[in-house]
């Protein structure tokens, strides 16, 4: 990855609060156009790290470049190129989505049309409802709408789907994918591993102030090459075999059943959640 291709480039980032090392030497590269998901337990330094990238917090050490600029020295031009969706907010309570969006659109040089944004996040029907009367999921969609309003090159999403029902989450994932298709780089922090697996090109796991692994969701923690588990119901009850050659194992079992259907056959590899929990457990 060349420098100019990276939306985010972090080297040796450190941040202390008193004696506590919240972030201790983080390196991170996010390519332009990529969806990158940062995973980690509460208190791991995830939010600190992201807020340094967003320009909200100063850092103690290391190099940080976001869209080629140090966020600590960023100006309004830089802020016009990023979009931030913070964790749960409850502002704008007296305004409707249309009013909140048209106010904020005035801050940006090239805002998306308000109607288009409302449509993208699925709030068109609620555009004239005061924000304090929106449901949790609708309120969150307003936050996302405000984040993408300025037509950002890089979008920060901090736990965007908290409080969504399953259908709203599916719709939201579609929205993120369409933004990505339009070329927006996305940094997503989430506690939902299925969300990271579905959306992210790559995931990074942060634990105890450091990045412990970065890979595609399918390969994280050796997931792609990890032993598979074959399980089925044999004549004496449930059976499990852990193997590096599941195809051969299945063939052998099939033979033992004389070509008949194998009851309750499942071939599984560790889920993203399995490897994630293992990683953050090992880091402690």
């Amino acid at each position: 990855m060349t420098r100019s291709d990276s939306a985010v480039r972090v080297r040796g980032l450190t941040k202390r609060y008193g004696d506590h090392h919240a972030v201790g030497g983080v390196d991170l590269d996010i390519a332009a156009g990529e969806i990158f998901s940062l995973l980690g337990p509460n208190g791991a330094g995830k939010t600190t790290c992201v807020e340094i990238l967003e320009g909200y917090r100063p850092r103690d050490g290391g190099e940080v470049e976001v869209l080629g600029i140090d966020p600590a020295k960023a100006d309004a031009h830089w802020k016009a190129r990023i979009g931030i969706v913070l964790q749960s907010t409850k502002d704008f309570s007296e305004l409707t989505p249309t009013e909140a969006l048209s106010t904020c659109a005035a801050y940006y040089p090239r805002p998306r049309p308000v109607e288009e944004v409302l449509d993208l996040v699925g709030l068109t029907a609620k555009r004239k409802t005061r924000a304090d009367q929106l449901s949790g999921g609708q309120r969150r969609r307003l936050d996302v709408a405000l984040g993408i309003l300025g037509n950002p090159e890089l979008l920060f999403l901090d736990e965007p789907t908290t409080g969504f029902d399953p259908e709203a989450r599916r719709q939201f994932w579609g929205l993120i994918e369409s933004l990505s298709d339009l070329g927006t780089t996305i940094l997503l922090t989430t506690h939902y591993l299925d969300e990271a697996e579905r959306l992210a090109d790559r995931v990074g796991v942060i634990a105890d102030g450091g990045i412990v692994a970065v890979d595609t969701p399918a390969m994280l923690g050796g997931r792609g090459t990890a032993a598979a588990t074959v399980s089925w119901r044999g004549p004496n009850g449930p059976e499990h075999i852990s193997t590096d050659a599941p195809t051969k194992v299945v063939r052998d079992i099939a033979d033992s059943f004389g070509g008949a259907e194998i009851p309750e056959l499942v071939v599984s590899r560790p889920t993203l959640e399995d490897v994630y929990l293992q990683m953050i457990g090992a880091a402690k």
């Binding site: 100019s4 609060y17 967003e54 320009g55 909200y56 917090r57 869209l67 080629g68 309004a76 031009h77 802020k79 016009a80 190129r81 990023i82 931030i84 913070l86 749960s88 907010t89 409850k90 502002d91 704008f92 309570s93 007296e94 305004l95 009013e99 909140a100 048209s102 106010t103 904020c104 659109a105 005035a106 801050y107 940006y108 040089p109 090239r110 005061r130 405000l146 300025g150 090159e153 070329g183």
Partner: protein, 277 residues
């Protein structure tokens, strides 16, 4: 990087156009929030009606000056305090608490536009409120409005200086409440106490001397005194502790508070809540 380069050249909106959007948002939010409208805008008006009904009789604070005339002058000054200090010192902590200020500081909005929006809101509320107080005074209680250009010019600079100092102090004070919920409980007693000792509800010269001395430190005492110079006949100067309106001293004290308020704002204003590091 070409797309980035072209995007970077896109000009940011002017301060004027962003400020216009801020003013619209401020006015919409204020007038939709019933508590703000009742407490900040209407409460002084309600007080005038109630006190006028109670003390609207023949009590005179000076020969030919009924108490209600004295009270309207004080209430207009208290109204300016309410529109600026109470309004902002309560609203800004709530905006800080809900994440609104953090959100704004993450956008390219010029910071000045936020404060311009607040100043216009304060000015608008102050004008509406002062007009209501004068109208009710005249219509219900036979209050006499000043005549003469010079008196109205005095009214203008006293109101402007008073509201400027109290706006800056309100923004500075907004850093004191720990969160939005506690703001009214911290700000309101301060304002009410100031009203009691600054010559709004009681004739100032009849208050204990020590109380007068404390009140003289704060802007409201000088604002009420200035408003009396506008609404009371010159003969009533005799009832002032100094025996005169002290217009020069009013200007100096309020100007000093403007400077103090500005310095405090610059030193203490935060875009995020304390619980947010």
């Amino acid at each position: 990087m070409t797309t980035t380069a072209t995007r970077r050249t896109a000009a940011l909106p002017s301060l004027a156009s962003v400020s216009k959007a801020r003013v619209r948002a401020e006015l919409l939010s204020f007038f939709r929030e019933k508590e703000a409208v009742v407490f900040v805008l209407l409460f002084p008006v309600i007080l005038l009606v109630v006190f006028g009904a109670v003390f609207g009789g023949n009590d005179e604070v000076a020969p030919g000056v009924p108490f209600i005339q004295y009270f309207v002058a004080g209430m207009i000054a208290a109204g300016l305090l309410s529109a600026s200090f109470q309004n902002l010192a309560i609203q800004i902590p709530i905006e800080r608490d809900t994440g609104y200020l953090k959100r704004l500081s993450g956008t390219p909005m010029p910071k000045a536009a936020y404060f311009i929006g607040k100043v216009v809101l304060v000015g608008f509320v102050a004008v509406v409120q002062t007009a209501l107080l004068m109208a009710i005074g005249v219509l219900l209680y036979d209050v006499v409005l000043p005549s003469g250009l010079e008196t109205w010019l005095n009214f203008a600079w006293i109101a402007l200086l008073g509201i400027t100092s109290c706006t800056l102090l309100g923004i500075a004070f907004s850093s004191i409440p720990k969160n939005g919920k506690s703001a009214p409980a911290i700000v309101s007693p301060v304002a009410i106490l100031l009203q009691f000792i600054s010559g709004v509800f009681f004739v100032f010269s009849q208050l204990p001397t020590w109380m007068q001395t404390i009140a003289a430190v704060f802007p409201l005492k000088w604002m009420t005194q200035g408003m009396r110079s506008v609404f009371l006949p010159d003969a009533a100067q005799a009832a002032e502790p100094a025996g005169s309106w002290e217009l020069g001293r009013i200007a100096v004290v309020l100007a000093v508070w403007c400077v103090v308020g500005l310095v405090l704002c610059l030193m203490t204003f935060r875009w995020r809540s304390r619980s947010d590091g």
